[in-house]
């Protein structure tokens, strides 16, 4: 079963870290992703640029509306994601709990539909 793990962090918390701390967390996250990939449980993962770089697109009445920023403003921002392939939710929870950012941010686990959009 494939799950998309969405990593959310409050920007304030991130800003509170020193550069050194940031590098340490990032190294730890990359190392963890490497381990997962070698175990065949990680399909793809990536951190994301900050939310200021986000662009939202909608098409209404055949017109494309492009706006700056995310669709909804929230305190917690999507900072990255992991797409994993594991037997069940308990495995997904275990993986999410060991992801370093979970210690100060949060991980939303969404099961992926395997039978199309219906």
């Amino acid at each position: 079963m494939k799950y998309l793990c969405l990593i959310y962090v409050e920007e304030q918390i991130l800003n509170g870290f020193s550069n050194q701390e940031r590098v340490k967390i990032s190294d730890e996250a990359m190392a963890y992703c490497d381990t997962l990939q070698k175990a065949g449980r990680l399909l793809v993962a990536s951190p994301l640029h900050p939310v200021e770089t986000a662009t939202t697109v909608r098409v209404r009445a055949s017109k494309t509306l492009t706006t700056d920023g995310p669709f909804a403003e929230t305190k917690e921002q999507l900072g990255g994601f992991l797409m994993i392939d594991v037997p069940d939710l308990n495995d997904a929870i275990r993986i999410a709990a060991q992801f370093p950012v979970a210690r100060f941010g949060s991980v939303e686990i969404r099961p992926m539909k395997e039978d199309g959009c219906a």
Binding site: M1, P87, D88, L89, N90, I93, P111, D115
Partner: protein, 415 residues
């Protein structure tokens, strides 16, 4: 077959349904991999039993018969439907991969299946209210209507909660398993908490006109007994002891007119001695274990009350000491409030009032009616009439329960 033996066979089927249906269901969920399919299979199996047992006699192992009949009926129906529905093909495949002899496997896995069911219904990925509804429905076998009545909600609301929870179990693939030893303590907490919530809702209904709803407490105690039998961890027994000791006071907690009677005014001859001895025996077994958790400590507090002949002769020093331990393992402002009340009994109302006022200053319990009621009572005892009245009014504004409201109004009127 004559009419008498036919009736006899039917009542045997009913008896077996009551005793075994939840166990059969728990195993069918594992074998079929889906709650709804298993429920349907359970229904089919008992239909078949009602038809066949009066003719052919009761099988030697009725439970194994029901499991294998239910399983074959389900596989049959999945196969038939799978011809038309692509999404069922995988389920059909899953069911067919189980080739082991069900009867042989069954005894070995049976205990585990019931635990699997409890842990799945109380999975932390489900909403707390859904855990309660699902546990009462699947583990206890209550109907949606019964659950709705117990929680004073609409059957449609309960049904929706259960459907959503089952959908999540299926779509997010919550596994049907007992947690590993490493995860057991945290997962067990969730299960115990769900059982305790069911008990409390039955013991001290949080809203409505009745003070207690005995049927819910009864279900919680049944669940506690089941879990004690399947997984005799210290806190499991501690929770059962706690529920039994509280339950022992049920008859004394309300007057004939349905009004609240406080612990110190209760007629202790109405306390149920059998439940008390069972609770204390369990507690002694639990205290022998080295890990003592919050449920065991609360049970120990209840046991000190149970062993006292009246409020004045209660060992309040020991109760305060137990609350101190409880605060260490599970700090909470409510436990601090209870401790303050015990301190008032040990050292006098002024000492208790100091603690309660300090607690109120912190603000966490400002909206909790019982802290105002406790403060009012202590003010009343030391003759601070006006402050007592003000606190009773605060409590009255916050309580949502009719008998408590009447109790507070009587106290206020007496001043």
């Amino acid at each position: 077959m004559n009419e008498k033996s036919l009736k006899q066979a039917q009542s045997t089927v009913e008896e077996i349904y009551r005793a075994e249906s939840r166990r059969v269901l728990a195993t069918l969920i594992r074998l079929l991999g889906d709650f709804d399919t298993a429920e349907e299979a359970l229904h089919e199996a008992f239909m078949a039993a009602t038809e066949q047992w009066p003719q052919n006699g009761i099988p030697t192992n009725p439970r194994a018969w029901l499991v294998s009949t239910g399983r074959f009926k389900a596989i049959d129906s999945i196969r038939r439907r799978a011809r038309y529905d692509a999404s069922l093909r995988e389920l059909a495949k899953h069911s067919e991969t189980i080739t082991d002899d069900v009867q042989e496997q069954e005894d070995e896995h049976l205990q585990d299946d019931r635990l699997r069911l409890v842990f799945t219904c109380c999975h932390p990925a489900l909403k707390p209210e859904a855990r309660l509804a699902l546990t009462l429905r699947e583990v206890c076998g209550l109907t949606t209507e019964e659950i709705a009545r117990a929680f004073l909600t609409k059957p449609a609301t309960v049904a929706q909660r259960i459907v959503r929870a089952k959908n999540k179990i299926r779509d997010a693939r919550i596994p049907y398993e007992v947690p590993t030893a490493l995860e057991l303590p945290a997962r067990l907490d969730t299960v115990l908490h769900a059982i305790y919530l069911v008990f409390n809702e039955g013991y001290s209904a949080s809203f409505g006109t009745a003070l207690t709803r005995a049927d819910l407490s009864g279900e919680a105690i049944r669940l506690g007994r089941l879990l004690t039998q399947l997984l005799p961890e210290p806190e499991v027994m501690g929770l059962l002891a706690l529920m039994l000791l509280h339950e022992s006071r049920r008859a004394a907690r309300t007057s004939a007119t349905g009004d609240l009677v406080l612990l110190e005014q209760q007629d202790r001859s109405l306390w149920n001695g059998e439940l008390i001895s069972e609770g204390i025996a369990l507690l002694e077994r639990t205290l022998a274990a080295r890990r003592i958790g919050p449920y065991t400590l609360q049970a120990a507090i209840a046991a000190v009350h149970a062993e006292a002949s009246d409020a004045a002769r209660t060992d309040w020093a020991q109760i305060v000491a137990l609350y101190d331990l409880l605060l260490q393992v599970e700090p909470s402002p409510i436990v601090e409030l209870n401790r303050a009340v015990a301190v008032a009994m040990r050292d006098g109302p002024i000492k208790g009032l100091e603690l309660i006022d300090a607690l109120l200053m912190r603000g966490e319990l400002t909206d909790y009616h019982l802290i105002h009621a406790a403060r009012a009572d202590l003010c009343r005892r030391i003759g601070k009439k006006e402050e007592a009245c003000a606190s009773y009014r605060n409590a009255l504004a916050l309580t949502k329960q009719e008998p408590e409201r009447r109790f507070l109004e009587r106290r206020l009127a007496a001043l």
